[in-house]
């Protein structure tokens, strides 16, 4: 996925960019509305993450211009205001969703996914590997002639493995990526999801290997 982040706070922007790149996304960063307009005019993005208070204006004006220009790139507004204190609702101006700062990256990711799923229609991003067809947006996994709908955490787990084939993920790392910090997570929670995913992948050439004391790895059994 290709994202445009419009955020004037360099530290926050850095943090968001590095986290999204970690998830395998391409992120361009604009620190003001002027740059953002330039980026939008020259590049195609799957999604725009837009801050409201920017040095050269209000992000909502950018949003209005963006929508008036008939561009339908989905926009998620990043705002420090809550809904009750926001006198002009971002959603009324054509934003697809908004996230209140500070946000949980897992939540931001979930919101991006929901917005993309709503917006993408038929133009799906399908991944074909090792005899499976995986559509991360729709959450469909087709193995052979069987299509199943993955639960959210199963889906994200599979996405992690597919984006980094051959990499070993520790239990803790997986826990951090799959659960938000206010969840009370037991140690074997990850095992439950790994077991479910294994079952879904069973008829295919892909399998999740347990490396004792290290973690898990997705292997391509040929």
């Amino acid at each position: 996925m290709k994202f445009l982040l419009v955020e004037d706070n360099p530290d926050l922007a850095n943090a968001i960019c590095s986290r999204m790149r970690l998830d395998g996304h391409v992120v361009d960063h604009a620190a003001n509305l002027d740059d953002a307009t330039g980026f939008v005019e020259t590049q195609d993005y799957d999604l725009i993450l837009l801050d409201i208070m920017l040095p050269d204006g209000d992000g909502r004006d950018f949003l209005k211009r963006h929508r008036a220009g008939n561009r339908d790139t989905p926009v998620i507004v990043l705002t420090a205001r809550s809904q009750v204190s926001d006198r002009i609702g971002s959603l009324d101006l054509g934003a697809d969703d908004y996230v209140t700062k500070p946000f949980d990256h897992a939540e931001l990711e979930a919101r991006c996914r929901a917005v993309l799923r709503r917006k993408s229609g038929n133009a799906r991003t399908r991944i074909e590997v090792g005899g499976i067809v995986f559509d991360p947006l729709a959450g469909h996994l087709t193995v052979g002639d069987q299509t199943v709908s993955l639960r959210n955490r199963e889906l994200r787990l599979l996405e992690l493995f597919i984006n980094a084939p051959g990499q070993v993920f520790s239990k803790q790392k997986l826990t951090d990526r799959l659960f938000s910090y206010d969840d009370m997570v037991s140690d074997n929670a990850i095992e439950v999801y790994v077991a479910r995913l294994r079952k879904h992948l069973e008829p295919s050439e892909l399998k999740i290997t347990t490396l004792r004391g290290l973690g898990y790895r997705l292997d391509h059994a040929t």
Binding site: L22, S82, K101, P102, E107, A110, A114, Y181
Partner: protein, 455 residues
Amino acid sequence: MPLESNVSGSLRNRLVLTLIGGAALLAFLLFVAVRNYAAQVAQQGQDNILGASVTSILDTAALREGELEVDIPYGAFAMLSTPADDRVFYAIFQDGEFLSGYEDLSPLTGQRESRWQFQSSTIRGETIRQVSASRTLVGLENQTVIEIVLGQTQDALAETLDQISRNAAVLGIGFFALAAALSFWATSSTIGQLNRLTTSVTRRGPQDLSPFRKPVPREMAPLVASLNSLMGRLDQSLSQSEDFIAEAAHRVRTPLATVRSYADATLQRVEKEENREALRSMVRAIDESSRAAGQLLDHAMITFRADHLEREEIDLVALINDLVQRLTPIAEMKDLTLSLDGDPQVLYSGDPILIQNAARNMIDNALKYAPPDSAVRIEVSSVPHIQICVKDRGPGFPPNEIDTLTRRFERGKNASGTIGSGLGLTIVQDVATAHGGTLELANRQGGGACVTLSL
């Protein structure tokens, strides 16, 4: 917040009373003046005839061989005849001595060689108008003064006066009626201007603080000007406090977002378990403080909005459905299912932002405490009364704390492991109270909490 006004008197009554009182006084004065003038004119007429009559009698007086001769002409009395058959009295005096006629008439002593002397007097119980005139007759060897007094009753005059009085009274009453009608019209058209201003001010919504621009009479312009300046100041102070809350949120949340994102990103790279644990604690603490800050500001805003409750007609089902759509990604993250049941449409008049925020707090709570792979059910119904109910399969409320959980910063004993500010249910309670409703906390059979917001 209905404020009782301190009412003293009524402008309308004061205006009507003053105008009608004035009209009554003027009508009375008009009546008196017309009547007096008419009486004067009528009297003048009678006097002129009496004068002519007495002169014609005097003209016949002559001294013939020292003897006084008066031959009263027929015309002298004929000219005095009236439709009311007024009676005529006369008396002739020579040198002050009564000579002939009615003795009851007295001469006007001390009158010499002048024109007519008029006076009103009473004779035989009747009011008469009398005229006297004298003339000095000079004979060959003597001269004598003859004085003639002529009186006439005033029946015809009184009749005429009565008629004139009646006409004058009709005129006065007509004038009064017209003036009274005019005063009512003038009053209502003046008060109408005030009423129109009042109506257009009261017809505004509580949030409409724009200046009043319709044209008003010059006398009301200062009132409207100060009203506009008051509304301007109010609007400014309202938007200042709203801007302050928004700005405060921005100042607090943006740096927290930075720290959180860094901690989050670092966590992905750090391997050592104790460092990871420290980073996790950091993230939790940040979440805790940002949530508290957010809820505090929301609570301030909600208190503010609840004080100036602006009701509008809304479909609660559509409103809550929007919210459910927005919260679905969060529910999915935890593999929870969110469902909305109940009536297809529930119309209610309330503040949509307050109600949505209350519902958001209720659903947030359910999402926080619900175990993975469970369902959170939201029901919006209008029977028996309009209510929004959120049910989960979490741990439920500790029975001995159920009554205290809506207090500020009060949290359940079993909530210690979960991030929260202790303001969520307080906000829901405040929103319920602002709409005249209630918040009910209960535990479900088979485990879980059931939170009902009745409006």
